[in-house]
Amino acid sequence: VRAPGGGSGSDIEAAARLGVAAAVDAGVSDAEAWCEESVHREIRVYDGAVESLTDAGSHGVGLRVFLDGRSGYAYGTDLSDRGLAGLAQVAAAAASVSDPDEHAGLPETPGAAEVEGLCSPGLVDWDNGRRLELALEVERAARAHAGVSQVDEVVYADAQERVALANSRGFAGGYETTSAYAWASALAGEGADLMTGLGLGLARDPGALDPGAIGDEAADRAIGLAGARQPKGRRCPVLLDSFVAASFVGFIGAMLAADAVQRGRSLFAGREGEEIATEALRLADDGTARDGPASAPFDGEGSPRRRIPLIERGRLETYLFDALTARRAGRPGTASAVRSSYRSPPSVGTSNLTIEPGDRTVDELLLDAGDGLYVTDVAGLHSGVNPISGTFSVGASGRLIEDGELAAPVRELTIASDLVSMLRGVRAVGSEARWVPFGGSVHTAPVLIDEMTVSGA
């Protein structure tokens, strides 16, 4: 796979190959080098002016080595020949500390998928002046709403990133991606009535962002919640908006990682092939989606990415496997090795989780809910969910639903259920799906759940 755009892409490909060679020289039986290079900018604006402007580049390499079933990892920022040789020694020494695992090793069938559209040529046409103007437009849009009392954060960021991966079994590949996003936080109401709202958008380049819509979303969300009060506790239908649905979906995706399953840390252990959700729910992990923020030709250890159906018509189809967990299970992998950066070795995880949209608008879902709760924000998901039993109680805010319409805003409440009951309670998925960067990278519409426990006063 050639890195589009060329430039110094070849430099990191060379560094990756040199890193592997250095490790082999250091006496390991197998080695893999993951090299990254990026240029990124971030602009924060406040009150019509620049608050901060970051324009920077960074690079790094991570070296994973195997020796007699033991694996070790070393990472650093020094890509020189000497730096890589030193790193190889450190990685080999680290490997000697670990206990052997007969399944550890490089993937058997490395390769790269054809993925279109990872890189937008439009990004290079943007200078910092245009970027700033976009950020200011987001802020102006949010402040233009009469109910907005403050816009405390507006952030625009973009990046060009190159990745090169090489291993001692002859795999060498690389790719380039571009990304751009903007978000804003608005406040509405004063004193005890004050509430916040978030608006965001993400794309491959700034030209595909809609600054007005991002500002409007932040404003609308804040205004919709201003004056919220603690509701009375009850059991009722709950409509999760896209942000909230994405947070839950991300959590569920993490529990489908084979590592968590094999080690008894997942509530989905032993449930493959079973009905775990209603027919309305179809979930996939798609590492090749054209507009997916986490899309790439190969995963974190060089297996070709593809679309993996996880829940089809309510049935749990498979877990997510990298090379290690696939070998442990004695089955083919799903190219689900992920890297958060060159600083950590690959581990099993999700790429782009996608919930198949349904055919109903938010208004129709509200009508279906009748009397219930529309949740627009959850907090404390990671401390509030027991990953093994799946029971949860998380903080939330949103709007009451009365007679199929949005009613009074509410806050300081918790919603409680367990993930299995929640999946079995999915009544409908909406039609208005979007990418949300919560819980990893998730594409989802609002999701209507039959019933949850709402605790308040």
């Binding site: 406040y46 002016a49 620049v50 608050e51 901060s52 402007l53 970051t54 324009d55 920077a56 580049g57 960074s58 690079h59 790094g60 694996s71 070790g72 990892y73 070393a74 990472y75 650093g76 920022t77 030193g86 450190v90 680290a94 490997a95 500390v97 670990s98 206990d99 910092n128 403050q150 405390d152 954060e153 406040l187 004050l194 509430m195 916040t196 080690r263 008894g264 840390r265 950590s344 907090a379 404390g380 990671h382 401390s383 509030g384 027991n386 093994i388 029971t391 949860f392 109680s393 998380v394 903080g395 805010s397 300081e412 409440l413 918790t414 409680a416 367990d418 605790s455 308040g456 006063a457």
Partner: protein, 461 residues
């Protein structure tokens, strides 16, 4: 040996100001890390890191211009200074001469963790595994991790600041999963600090024993009730309550944008007279301590609540300048690739006169929240959420059954007003705090504290 030669640092700062600016700064860092994990009795994922780099920041009015680079070679530092300067449009400013290097308080390192053989660290994890499993057939899984880091940082700025800090931290964490008749519970415990290997060298297996005790205790738990009730919060990690419910709202960036419920409240009586709270980044060997902050300001003890009155916000250089006050040593950053922002260091309530037993006896019927799994706050509203990791019912003034699935929701101002007792058993635990995409070590602590009424969201039907 310094990371950047003084003369070179002076030139970089000078170049950064060629097109104006009120403050220019060079931040250089060299970071070495090592970590190791254990699961299913197997030591795995040994990881060693070595990173070096620098950033240049120019502050002009209310705007900060920032760039960073990997490596500390002269050509790289000059290039990033020039690149940052290009964003400005004014006339050159001359920097003040650099003062002699200041270091602030050092936190002793008896045994440099890099000098301890990796095999001993692996043995320590095995010892934790063994101890957690000993005599407890219900223990299904033990997950242990060890991490050490050494960060050397240097800060030079156009006000003449020249500061250096050498920060070594170690941390041991153990999570135990216990299983009985289909019920699964986890217990988590950590030990760590700003110091050397000595922090974990003494009886590390006690950390595992404590994690196991929590998991096994929770096996007998009932589903948590819901509703308003008195809550006694445990010492140590219970301090997450103060950190989330109050501390974030005192960070001056939120305050200056009026995106904090504590904005404009300095001097106001927000808590009863017996409540005092501190942020203290100079506290010896504590997890959230440093010699100087990431802008070269010496760390200090800041009284944030004094006898019930809000007495100070937490400042970095930029926000302190804007409020015309002295910085409080809270300008922190995750690495040279991040802009400093006001962050807590070690935040805790001062000890009071009560005993934990008195607090519990006075609660009649309520919840005893010994430790939290984590928490989150919206500083603008003060609304917070905590997951209770280890909790018990209080019935008739006595601690009775453990409860699972309890979540506390509330508001920072309400909590401060509602404190009706503080014990004398101050303890500080090790946490990581996330803000603006940056993760930094933060000490959270308190003695036992009782709150008159909080909303508990439980899972009981």
């Amino acid at each position: 040996v310094s990371l950047v030669d003084h003369e070179l640092a002076r030139r970089v700062v000078e170049r950064a100001l060629v097109r104006g600016g009120d403050l220019a700064e060079l931040y250089a860092e060299d970071r070495m890390t090592f970590g190791l994990g254990l699961e299913e009795g197997i030591v795995e994922r040994p990881q060693a890191g070595a990173e070096r780099g620098a950033s240049v920041r120019v502050v002009s009015g209310d705007a900060s211009y920032f760039g960073h680079v990997d490596g500390l070679e002269e050509a790289e530092l000059v290039r990033v200074a020039d690149s940052v300067a290009r964003a400005l449009r004014a006339d050159a400013r001359a920097p003040a001469a650099l003062a002699a290097a200041a270091g602030g308080a050092r936190h002793p390192v008896k045994t440099a963790p890099q000098e301890v053989e990796a095999a001993r660290k692996a043995e320590m994890l095995h010892a934790c595994d063994e101890r957690a499993r000993s005599g407890a057939p219900e223990v299904a899984q033990v997950i242990a991790s060890y991490a050490e880091s050494r960060r050397r940082v240097e800060i030079y700025n156009s006000d003449g600041t020249s500061a250096a800090d050498d920060r070594t931290r170690v941390r041991l964490g153990v999570t135990v999963v216990a299983r009985r008749n289909g019920i699964v519970e986890t217990g988590h415990e950590t030990r760590g600090g700003h110091g050397g290997f000595e922090i974990v060298a003494e009886r590390p297996e006690e950390v595992a024993a404590e994690a196991a005790r929590k998991a096994l205790t929770m096996l007998d738990a009932r589903e948590a009730p819901s509703g308003q009730m008195p809550v006694v919060v445990g010492n140590g990690f219970g301090g997450v309550l103060l950190h989330e419910a109050v501390g974030h709202g005192l960070e001056a960036d939120h305050v200056q944008k009026r995106a904090s419920v504590y904005a404009g409240r300095l001097g106001d009586e927000l808590a009863p007279r017996f409540v005092t709270a501190y942020d203290d980044g100079s506290r010896r060997s504590e997890w959230g301590s440093d010699g100087v902050d990431d802008e070269g300001t010496p760390t200090q003890t800041t009284t944030v609540i004094e006898e019930g009155r809000l007495s100070s916000y937490l400042y970095d250089l930029v926000r302190a300048r804007r409020d015309r006050v002295a910085p409080t040593g809270n300008g922190r950053r995750e690495s040279f690739r991040h802009l400093p922002v006001p962050r807590m260091t070690n935040t805790f309530f001062a000890p009071g006169d009560a005993t934990p037993a008195e607090l519990i006896a006075g609660a009649a019927h309520g919840l005893y929240a010994v430790s939290f799994g984590g928490g989150q706050v919206e500083p603008a509203t003060g609304d917070f959420v905590f997951g209770v990791a280890e909790g018990y019912l209080i019935e008739g003034g006595k601690v009775t059954s453990p409860v699972r699935g309890a979540t506390l929701v509330g508001n920072g101002l309400e909590v401060l007003r509602g404190i009706d007792g503080i014990a004398g058993d101050l303890d500080i635990a090790t946490g990581y705090c996330g803000k603006a995409g940056q993760r930094v070590p933060a000490g959270v602590g308190q003695p036992h504290v009782r709150i008159r009424a909080l909303t508990v969201g439980g899972t009981a039907a």
